[in-house]
């Protein structure tokens, strides 16, 4: 009834057909994989492949941000955690010669741990304070990246980062990277979906709807909030590492507050009530700036304007359009 609502919708009640539902979903996933297999060949040129790659990675960022949002928190330093993962993985492979496939995993775990530490410390802060502190943390990261010259090379950034190699295949070139990005995106999507239907997901949703009542139901709200924050931020770290090994150059400018705002915009525009919104938002908004490059400066204005417009007129985001239409045309509850 309320998909125009911005509160996170609880997982759909399980039907007796959930076993067969599982098979349907697996079939869909398989179909998507097949489609993805043909995509790089179908796209007109490498520029489009590049856009697709960026969109897939944005999808990872948006989904992981949704995980955090699903517990009722807003992270304004999502890009900073992406950056943390990026620098971690880049440095491991550049300085210590760790193979990127491995450094990616380590970076993700490292980022998740840092997020858990930060989260445990600041989660006692209610609502608004938490958001403000995540903003401050993001600023700290940027400052650190800029000023810790010995490690991060400051404003010049890190160059010549190695591409990811797995089983002898290099995922450096754009077309090849597409497959990796797609695989990572699907993994994130499936994970997020499974998470939202799991015991954790139910706990998250309870906390988001009524945190005091959730506590009274025996849900350790503090622990679950940290878990959501750590998981979401950790995945962002992996996303950041992916960028590092794809673009093969990162600098403090790659992961700023503006990026965090962009991910929030994707989440809002796509729709916050269910994880699909994040995917829709990323798919809609990532290609936009690239295709608007001709209108220098206007692209960002449009970004911001779209967000405000959506919030005012369609708070449920793009995914709420079907149900809104249903309501407006007289149907529906």
């Amino acid at each position: 009834m309320n998909t125009t609502d911005t509160t996170v919708a609880p997982p759909a009640p399980k039907s007796r057909a959930s076993a067969s539902g599982l098979w349907t979903r697996l079939a869909l996933v398989a179909a998507a994989c097949v489609a993805a297999g043909f995509t790089p060949g179908l796209l007109p040129n490498l520029f489009y492949v590049h856009i697709a790659n960026l969109t897939l990675i944005s999808g990872i960022f948006a989904l992981s941000l949704w995980i955090i949002y699903s517990v009722g928190q807003l992270s304004l330093c999502h890009a900073a955690f992406a950056g943390l993962g990026a620098y971690c993985s880049a440095l491991l492979s550049l300085r210590l010669g760790v193979p990127p496939a491995l450094s990616l995993v380590i970076a993700g775990l490292f980022t998740a741990t840092m997020a858990a530490l930060l989260g445990a410390v600041i989660l006692r802060l209610r609502g608004v304070y938490f958001v403000l502190v995540t903003f401050l943390f993001g600023q700290m990261f940027t400052l650190l990246a800029l000023n810790w010259q010995d490690v991060t090379n400051g404003a010049n950034g890190l160059i010549s980062i190695a591409p990811i190699k797995l089983l002898g295949i290099s995922f450096g070139p754009r077309s090849m990277f597409f497959y990796l990005a797609f695989a990572m995106f699907m993994a994130t999507l499936l994970f997020t979906w499974a998470l939202s239907r799991s015991t954790f997901g139910r706990a998250f949703n309870s906390i988001e709807q009524n945190i005091d009542l959730a506590e009274s139901c025996g849900i350790d709200t503090a622990r679950f909030q940290v878990i959501a924050f750590a998981i979401g931020s950790g995945i962002a770290g992996v996303g950041g590492a992916l960028i590092a090994h794809y673009i093969r150059y990162i600098s403090p400018d790659t992961f700023t507050f503006h990026n965090s705002v962009a991910y929030i915009t994707m989440l809002v525009v796509g729709g916050r009530s269910i994880f699909w919104g994040a995917v829709v938002g990323a798919a809609f908004l990532t290609p936009l700036p690239e295709f608007l490059r001709d209108f220098e400066g206007l692209q960002h204005i449009i970004y911001g304007a779209i967000m405000v417009l959506v919030l005012r007129t369609l708070p449920g985001g793009l995914i709420s359009i079907p149900s809104t239409l249903r309501r407006l045309t007289g149907g529906g509850k």
Partner: protein, 257 residues
Amino acid sequence: MSILLDVKDVAKRFGGLTALKDVTFSVSEGEIVGLIGPNGAGKTTCFNVISGTLPLSDGRITFQGQDIVGLRPNRIIRMGLARTYQATSVFPHSTALENVMRGAFCRSEDTFLGSMLATRASREAQSKERDRCMAILDQVGIAHVHDHLAGALPYGYQRRLGVAIALASSPKVIMMDEPAAGLNPEESMAMGQLIRDIHTDGQVSVLIVEHDMKLVMGICDRIIVLDHGEQIAAGSPNEVRNNPQVIEAYLGTEVEA
């Protein structure tokens, strides 16, 4: 009859204001205990202190022999001490059944990994839970609206849902904060009957704060009276009703005896 909840010399101060002082009582198996007093006597504060929502200033509180002072509310619930709230508290965007299932969160046999992978064990556990929660909804009399969104339910049903959520955690003691607030006389009677049923069927002890004297006198085995944060009387309904201090405390307040 063993003592389940033991409250000893509990005090709560807010800066210079003493909200509770030397409050001592217990709730045993098989009892319904009432906590009454004029407005501002500290009854809800007492609940908040026991359930862990507010920190204690002084005193001891044990549940089944274990010290519960300083524990987070979610741990206290898991030990078997549940509560309902004065202000109706539900998960508004979920159905009534889902609400109760969330109340049963800490008793669920479902595991994280199992639910992630949708294993058969997980689905069976959830199915079991669903049946148990439907039964609870039935017990409180709102099974017919199990698939309605909790936020859209009428006030009386929401209050019952609150009770159902508390029952879902299979508590040994349930603390009810003004369950009849805002209910008309018929609904109050029904609530009173419900509490009695829960007590006998579920073998749950009840500690109830209420202003509705008819309800309280009707169902409680023992009553404790607070006034200005201090205990001024304790005993059977008859004893309390005729206690001069109690009458004086309520003087000027409407008493529906």
